[in-house]
């Protein structure tokens, strides 16, 4: 639980999800054989919020969902569902010790989902879900699908079938109510005309809506949606957003949704959690997350330099920048990479770019985000004509003051002879290297010169406070700056090191990069 508190540097007060979480995932770990799908993950889902769990493919999002909804038993960790306001911390702890699965409290009730079988999670804890691959009852009508969702209350009303067989009137009444409820949701999902058609007959988008309607018919307090926008066209996506807002605002249902794509969720999410390879890399309001450099790096998934090297992207950047004739041709960067990086951070700082900024220059051009595109322009211009760079100057980070400590000195470009391969420092992976470059940090001696304030600032800027000290970047850099070698740098030079960004797949050895840089500078 405490894990959720330290990542949000922007919020002044405790955010809603920490004050009043409907769901808390605490130190969740899920292993499949030797593979760690989710590692020590903690986050809170605020009551009445739309919370998005995003991350690249294979980040472990669906695994988290399956743990929350009971389809997987987590290897470790606690998952708390709360009915009623507040954290109810004492009750939760008491429940944990008691070995029971749930407990009614003064405020409502608390549930330990990791102890409950899947059907109880839906039935008792009131967590409903949808599936990535739609799972409707295809051979049953739309209306029947919604009645199956109301199985448990109807079962009671039918006297566990005995009253129903005898035809007692109470059941008729209950069934009519259930149908009314179904019709209500059909109206809100625009499916009422299809009520008597088999679910398998519906078009794709309608099936997605029906799945949500079906989940809502279980009267959940938390609705978990697994990629609800997948395969929807933009209009359907927009309708989905409206529906989700309606569910949140009118029914006070908290929504937790998984999305692959950042752009889709930014608009409606109150709170975004980003996973990458089973580890949480960012957590906070949408605005905060989409500007988080860690998120940007994770979303590119790999070296974004290669991305921009793709001919079609390069062309597109050039074309867009020409089309839009953005005048800002100043601040030429030595390397297109640095500029592109700057473009994203700039776009981020304007707080207007959507996923475009996040997924780098490539996306920036495709999306109609003028600021981002405009910002991308110098990058393109730069990449086209590698002009001689002006003298080094201080790199300005717009919101530098938001971070504790002080920003280290940065150079506009690497010095003569090219930048150092910063990934030779243990703890700096390709992504971090790029971010450091964007700060104007190119050389080991620059890092070696950092004082405590700088270390603190950079740590916070890179969103992993404490790590720089822990991994002794400064000390390593000192050795390397003198031309020495560390055990780690030897391995890097041999090309044997996968990227040191946590949980990241092996990036290619960075030595190639050094030569590349040297050549260009």
């Amino acid at each position: 639980m405490d894990a959720a508190t330290n990542m949000n540097n922007n919020a002044q007060a405790t955010p809603n999800w920490d004050k009043d979480p409907v769901l808390s995932v605490e130190h969740l770990t899920m292993r499949f054989g030797g593979l760690v799908a989710v590692g020590d993950l903690s986050f809170n889902v605020g009551r009445g919020d739309i919370t998005a769990l995003i991350g690249p493919n294979g980040a472990g999002k669906t695994t988290v969902f399956n743990c929350v909804t009971g389809f997987y038993k987590p290897t470790e960790g606690r998952i708390v569902m709360r009915h009623g306001p507040g954290r109810q911390q004492e009750d939760v702890d008491a429940l944990t010790d008691s070995g029971q699965r749930w407990k009614t409290t003064g405020n409502g009730a608390v549930y330990l989902l990791e102890r409950m079988p899947d059907h109880e999670i839906s039935h008792k804890a009131k967590v409903a879900r949808t599936f990535q691959n739609i799972r409707l009852f295809g051979g049953m009508t739309v209306l029947e699908n919604l009645l199956v969702a109301q199985h448990n209350p109807l079962m009671v009303a039918s006297g566990f079938s005995i009253g129903g067989i005898l035809g007692l009137p109470g059941y008729k009444h209950a069934q009519q109510e259930a149908i009314d409820k179904a019709v209500y949701w059909l109206e809100h999902t625009n499916l009422v005309d299809r009520a008597d058609d088999p679910a398998a007959d519906l078009p794709y988008g309608a099936q997605r809506r029906l799945e949500i309607a079906r989940a809502m018919c279980t009267r959940p307090q938390l609705l978990c949606l697994d990629e609800p926008a997948a395969g929807l066209n933009p209009r359907e996506s927009a309708e989905l957003n409206e529906l989700l807002k309606y569910i949140r605002d009118e029914h006070k249902v908290s929504v937790l949704l998984i999305e692959h794509d950042m752009g889709v969720v930014m608009e409606i999410s109150d709170h975004v959690i980003v996973l990458d390879y089973g580890v949480k890399i960012s957590d906070g309001p949408a605005e905060f997350v989409k500007n988080d450099p860690k998120v940007i790096a994770a979303y590119l998934g790999v070296d974004d330099e290669d991305e921009i090297d793709m001919p079609e992207v390069r062309e597109d950047i050039a074309r867009v920048s020409k089309d839009e004739q953005a005048g800002d041709a100043a601040a030429p960067a030595a390397k297109k990479k640095a500029a592109a990086k700057k473009a994203t951070s700039k776009a981020g700082s304007t707080k207007k770019a959507s996923a475009a900024g996040a997924s780098g220059a490539k996306a920036a051009t495709a999306k109609s985000s003028p600021k981002a595109s405009a910002a991308a322009k110098p990058a393109a211009a730069k990449s086209k004509a590698a002009k001689p760079a002006p003298a080094a100057s201080e790199v300005k980070i717009a919101n530098a003051g938001d971070y504790p400590g002080s920003q280290p000195h940065g150079l506009r470009k690497a010095r003569e002879g090219g930048a150092n391969n910063l990934t030779r420092v243990k703890g700096i992976g390709p992504a971090s290297e790029k971010k450091l470059n964007a700060l104007g940090v190119w050389h080991f001696d620059q890092i070696a010169a950092w004082k405590k304030a700088e270390v603190q600032w950079v740590g916070s800027y890179l969103a992993f406070p404490g790590r720089i000290e822990r991994e002794e970047w400064v000390k390593q850099a000192r050795v390397l700056a003198k031309g020495g070698e560390t055990e780690f740098s030897k391995r890097v030079d041999k090309g044997a090191v996968p990227s040191s960004v946590p949980g990241k797949r092996g990036a290619k050895p960075a030595s190639k990069k050094t030569t590349g840089k040297g050549g260009k500078a």
Binding site: P234, G301, V302, E312
Partner: protein, 244 residues
């Protein structure tokens, strides 16, 4: 290129059904020799169905598919592919309990074994990663490696026409780039004809010589990749707000 008289593949008025549900509503399209042609469209538009219909599974209920002058509409799948069509299908369909090598051997099932080593060397040059994984089981590969294997397996059959169904699906950008580069290289160096189905419209249209847009089982637009990229409708529907 599109002015050629005899397209390598021509699809005319093809209608396909799943049971009583119509998936393709009279699709017309051509692929000429040496071209990269792409079909873009949203999920469920029928792109993959078209791909599979070309290979005879499901069979077209109406219409005609002619490949290299042969009417293949009613042929069984294994005979269609023996004419030189290879497909890397939706979902990759790697044989999960076979090794990478065996998967590639399956790809070469129809080819004279004397070419095997040569072809193997070629696909390993294209995808060096597969060489490292040679004795690993298909099911244990990562998504990107599986995609490479699916394409490599298709190439092992020495196809004249390569059908690729969403090669970029769920892959990291770098791998997408590698795969698209490989496709471009094969097309440029070996004159391989490629028909590519993509949701990732941006990349696909950049890569392709020509493109078609499919909506709800109909082809609604066609043109060169660049033309389509400029079209407002295409941009609105497939480039903005969607996936990239």
């Amino acid at each position: 290129m599109s002015e050629q008289k005899n397209p390598l593949l021509s699809v005319r008025g093809v209608e396909t059904y799943y049971g009583n549900i119509v998936a393709l509503r009279g699709v017309d399209m051509d692929v000429h020799r040496g071209e990269i042609v792409t079909m873009i469209g949203a999920n469920g538009a029928g792109k993959s169905t078209l791909m599979m219909t070309i290979c005879g599974d499901p069979r077209a209920r109406n219409g005609q598919i002619v490949y290299d002058g042969v009417d293949i509409t009613q042929m069984p799948t294994h005979e269609i592919v023996s004419l030189g069509i290879a497909q890397s299908p939706e979902g990759r369909r790697i044989f999960p309990r076979m090794t990478v090598m065996e998967n590639l051997q399956m790809g070469a099932a129809l080819v004279d074994p004397e070419f095997f080593d040569e072809d193997l060397a070629k696909v390993f040059k294209l995808f060096p990663r597969l060489k490292e994984r040679i004795s690993q089981r298909g099911g244990t590969l990562s998504g990107g490696e599986q995609q490479m294997l699916a394409i490599a397996r298709a190439l092992m059959s020495r196809p004249k026409l390569l059908l690729l169904d969403e090669p970029s699906l769920g892959l990291a950008p770098l791998i997408v780039k590698q795969i698209f580069d490989a496709i471009r290289e094969l097309n440029e160096k070996e004159g391989l004809t490629v028909f590519l189905v993509e949701q990732n419209a941006f990349h696909a249209l950049k890569l392709a010589h020509r493109g078609y847009v499919m909506v709800n089982g109909n082809v609604t637009m066609s043109g060169t990749g660049a033309e389509l990229l400029k079209k407002e409708e295409v941009r609105a529907a497939y480039l903005e707000g969607g996936r990239h």
